[in-house]
Symmetry: C2
Subunit: 128 residues, 2 copies
């Protein structure tokens, strides 16, 4: 099984086209994925933290998006404790690279949706 934009007999094969915007939309083009990224940028790491954001993402949608983000290399999952095992999610360098995109969206959004406000970073307890 080939991924999107992978080499195939010397010719690139894209899902829809060779436009960078199109390919970004094939990964991030829905109402939830970029909000998960936003939460990660704000410092959230755990499943329950994502579900407790004000948009109230459904549990199955969140699981699906985290899986896809991992597959796309934007996010890594790893256990931060055993007994019982608990996982946390972190942005990869590729994922961090989306910050300028989020910035541009926030600038435009704050200007055109009166009353909206950038969300604050969240704090984290130090790991044991």
């Amino acid at each position: 099984m080939l991924g999107d934009g992978e080499q195939m007999g010397g010719k690139m094969k894209f899902k829809r086209s060779s436009c960078p915007i199109t390919n970004v939309l094939d990964t991030l083009g829905d109402k939830w994925t970029l909000l998960v990224i936003r939460d990660l940028v704000l410092g959230k790491r755990r499943y329950q933290e994502f579900t407790s954001s004000p948009e109230k993402i459904a549990s199955n949608i969140l699981a699906d998006r985290l899986k896809k983000l991992e597959t796309s290399g934007l996010v890594t999952r790893h256990a931060y404790q055993r007994n019982p095992v608990r996982y946390e999610y972190l942005l990869t360098e590729k994922g961090e690279g989306l910050k300028p995109v989020l910035e541009a969206i926030i600038v435009w959004g704050k200007k055109h949706y009166p009353g909206t406000k950038r969300f604050p970073r969240v704090a984290h307890a130090k790991e044991g």
Copy 2:
């Protein structure tokens, strides 16, 4: 009927939250809307021009998106000829304001999807 983020008894009412990113996604968060904006930025104006882009947007989806973009104030529609009447679509100032968002997406997209390339502007015959 109130739009998103409209005033209601002194308190803002947002569809999902007061996050600017969330509100932008409620307007642009799907696989097609931003591609229509891209085409407009590239100089496309007419229905058939949008349907002839390499992503091959379906006719009903295009009609739906153009309607929503007009409702959101990102695009204007006007007749450029009569007998028969023909329409063209143009970005408003609000719509033009999305250029930095598209730029940031292109930068990230070109970096992470090898083989993708920014599409060139299209030329237009002079009216009259």
